[in-house]
């Protein structure tokens, strides 16, 4: 790592050399020569392929299995950093659950004017059908993946809440297994938090939110099926939980109760960990063209005869527009300051935010709130004068539809690229499980942008992942 230069960015390894364990890991990495590293990296990727830890791309003729690129240099989080993340994520999940309960019941937060009612009720992920529906333990977001980034100063910021069907946790566990096989020497004597409890914790959380009168609930994982790109994760989780992995066609609803078709006939189902979006869950309640769902499921759910994780209608809480209000949501329900701050966000629907945005369009990232997946996002510093002028007019015409944020210099982590170790930008997605209370998996998915300078860590755009070590 002698040529390694992380520039002005915060480095997940170099900037933490006050931590003796990180110094020790760095030293061990330095002792491995680059050829040995590359050989072990190749072995690790072949193993991923053989184990079928893949996402599958189907064409007419072939099923092509791709692996998520795996970088062999771990991302290490200190005990202190983890304590902040752990408590910050718990706080955020607690606030989001209270918020969801409120907007689907008394709407106090809307009446008190903390967040514009239109923003919530006009949101396409708001489900009016959920109004007045009570869910066990008041838990809406059972599984939460909060995307965090780290700025130049090393402060963790929340980039996004994923409160619908966050994915990626299987890679957290599989990356660890792979790492321990490929680099047993690197981790020797380093106290790293164990990640293997996730499956049993998930099963426990699902039991805790079973309908009230059920003592030994039957839990299933509902998947869109083998053609879904995340199917491996569904397999992984079903196996770790010890439950059956079903598709919509395996379930049926009779007299507002849910059953699965088994070798001994119909068997009652109590909790469904569903990896299908709200819209496809039940053709009777939502999209009528859905073939993935179960007709009548939503009615059974409303009657409290079955529970769904996550709850229906959580999408409104992880929306970009609502995101800007989460710090206020935390203060409103918990009377606490947010432990994990948002990326500073200007809400253009408010005068102050609009002025700030219009004054420095060329320095900010401007995001339309209704869109998902980065669509319509303008990066000010990289936009032409004409584009900025056009954007100026758009924002002015409909300010409520926009937020803006400063550019964040994402932290970097040493990453094996060809014949050298180079800095690459990373983010972190910790996973939180909530039944009666919340538990955060000590680790998380570190995604890494494999292209130099790129800030895009998504697997669909060439991003990879790293094992994430939480020191204990």
């Amino acid at each position: 790592m002698s040529d390694y230069d992380c520039g002005a960015f915060y480095c997940e390894m170099r900037s933490q050399q006050d931590q003796p364990l990180l110094t020790q890991i760095t030293k061990r990495l330095d002792e491995l020569d680059i050829r040995a590293l590359r050989r072990r990296a190749r072995d690790a990727e072949r193993e991923l392929f053989n184990l079928g830890i893949t996402f599958t791309v189907y064409t007419d003729r072939d099923a092509i299995d791709r692996i998520l690129p795996f970088d062999v240099i771990p991302r290490v989080l200190s005990k202190q950093d983890w304590a902040t993340i752990d408590s910050g994520v718990k706080q955020r999940v607690a606030a989001l659950n209270l918020f969801l309960h409120d907007i689907y019941h008394d709407e106090k937060i809307l009446k008190d004017g903390i967040i514009p009612a239109q923003l919530v009720k006009g949101n396409k992920n708001y489900r009016p059908e959920m109004q007045g529906v009570d869910v066990p333990q008041g838990t809406y977001v059972h599984i939460c993946g909060t995307d965090l980034v780290r700025d130049e100063k090393g402060t963790f910021l929340v980039l996004e809440d994923n409160g619908r069907c966050p994915s990626g946790v299987s890679y957290v566990l599989e990356n660890r297994h792979l790492m321990m096989r490929a680099f047993p020497d690197l981790a020797n004597g380093i106290p790293i938090a164990d990640v293997d409890a996730y499956g049993s914790r998930l099963a426990r959380a699902m039991s805790e939110v079973a309908p009230q009168d059920v003592s030994d609930p039957t839990i299933v994982l509902l998947s869109p099926g083998i053609y879904n790109s995340a199917y491996f994760e569904h397999v992984f989780l079903a196996r770790e939980m010890g439950v059956q992995l079903v598709e919509g066609r395996d379930l049926l609803v009779d007299d507002d109760m849910v059953f699965m078709r088994t070798t001994s006939g119909k068997q009652r189902v109590d909790v469904i960990y569903r990896r299908i979006d709200d819209a496809f869950l039940d053709p009777k309640a939502f999209r009528p063209d859905s073939t993935l769902g179960v007709p009548g499921l939503f009615a059974a759910y409303c009657k409290g005869n079955v529970n769904l994780a996550n709850a229906v209608g959580t999408g409104v809480a992880d929306d970009k527009a609502v995101y800007a209000y989460v710090p206020r949501i935390i203060r409103y329900y918990l009377d606490e300051d947010p432990i994990l701050p948002n990326v500073p966000t200007n809400i253009c629907g408010e005068d102050k935010g609009l002025t700030k945005t219009l004054d420095s369009l060329d320095k900010l990232v401007i995001k339309p709130v209704g869109e998902a997946g980065g669509y319509g996002v303008v990066v000010g510093p990289r936009a032409s004068k004409r584009e900025l002028a056009k954007l100026h007019a758009l924002v002015k015409a409909d300010p409520g539809n926009y937020i803006s944020q400063p550019m964040v210099g994402l932290s970097v982590s040493p990453t094996l690229i060809d014949r050298a170790i180079e800095p690459r930008h990373v983010d972190l997605r910790p996973f939180a499980l909530t039944g009666e209370d919340t538990w955060v998996l000590p680790g998380g998915l570190t995604r890494v942008a494999m292209k130099r300078g790129s800030l895009i860590v998504n697997s669909s755009q060439g991003g990879g992942s790293k094992d994430t070590w939480v020191l204990v």
Binding site: L51, G52, T263, G265
Partner: protein, 311 residues
């Protein structure tokens, strides 16, 4: 106790069948190439097409049952549903659906086997390399079976897996017997001296087993007794029926006799047919009729299991 999702019962059943089929097809191709040099111009490949009743389908696209064409058809042709590649693709798709119920080791091995087959090209099925290739396929199937034996939880999924495996094995043995027996010169003193009986026994992996069972004897009656009734020979019909019976008893225990009655009825028919056998003074015609009926009865068991358990 949670019962198995009906679809998974079908998946594990077919997983067992496809792997068993793959192993048998590979062995038959190999044996036909290596030992059945009964014609001066080389082995007869039409015979293999007849064995699997694939002749009509094959001749839609091929004029002549040439070695190259038949090997291509049975190993690499993805348009042929009975080819080895098709069987392994199907096995893997079934395994994928029950991946959370089988062991990771089973999945990993099948996945590697599959990747290896996808990479296989026409060069590897040339006559000079067929033996190696076929042995490799057989070994992969046997390894899978060994892994399953050592890692697969003996619950309901394993029950259907084994049922599928032994139904397929019994079916394969009847086909091999049917075609093999037709080739055996039967006549004076029942003595079989030709090379064909080797082929027959080797096709069911039974050459040395037979030798140790009947030292120094090569009689049609013994071969018949061995392949039909030897309860210790893994590919004999009697052993397969015994295993099928055990699995069906397991299901009965889980699901009760009432639900199970049609499966049990078809099983009894199968057992009875074997007890009665092809009769005395066996002729190729009598044997053929018996084996034909036996295949039909196996299909009836499959059908009853499908209707009762596959939802």
């Amino acid at each position: 106790l949670s019962s198995l999702v009906a679809r998974f019962a079908a998946n594990t059943f077919w997983l067992g069948r496809y792997l068993e089929r793959t192993e048998n097809v590979a062995r038959i191709l190999h044996i036909n190439e290596t030992y059945a040099r009964d014609k001066p111009e080389g082995p007869d490949w039409q015979r293999v097409l007849d064995l699997y009743s694939d002749s009509d389908r094959f001749h839609e696209d091929h004029e002549e049952a040439s070695e190259q064409a038949v090997l291509q058809f049975y190993i690499l042709d993805r348009n042929n549903p009975t080819s080895i590649i098709s069987s392994i693709i199907n096995a893997r798709e079934n395994a994928r659906s029950v991946r959370h119920l089988i062991s990771t080791e089973m999945w990993t091995h099948l996945n590697m086997f599959y990747s290896q087959l996808l990479k296989m090209n026409a060069r590897e099925i040339q006559p000079s390399r067929l033996a190696n290739t076929a042995n490799d396929i057989i070994l992969n199937c046997q390894t899978f079976e060994g892994i399953a034996e050592g890692t697969f939880l003996r619950g309901e999924p394993a029950c259907f897996y084994h049922l599928g495996k032994y139904i397929e094995r019994a079916d394969q043995t009847t086909r091999i017997l049917d075609i093999g027996y037709g080739l055996l010169p039967i006549g004076k003193g029942d003595a079989v001296t030709s090379v064909q009986w080797n082929v027959l026994l080797r096709s069911v992996c039974g050459y040395h087993a037979y030798r140790s069972r009947y030292p120094g004897r090569s009689r049609v009656k013994d071969i018949e007794r061995f392949l039909l009734y030897d309860t210790e020979f893994p590919r004999a019909l009697a052993l397969c029926v015994g295993r099928i019976t055990e699995r069906i008893r397991d299901m009965e225990k889980r699901h009760g006799t009432k639900r199970h009655s049609e499966v049990e009825r078809t099983r009894r028919e199968l057992e009875f047919a074997l007890e009665t056998g092809p009769g005395n003074d066996i002729t190729p015609e009598k044997l053929h009729a018996f084996l034909d009926r036996f295949q039909l009865l196996l299909a009836n068991v499959t059908d009853a299991v499908r209707q009762t358990y596959f939802g």
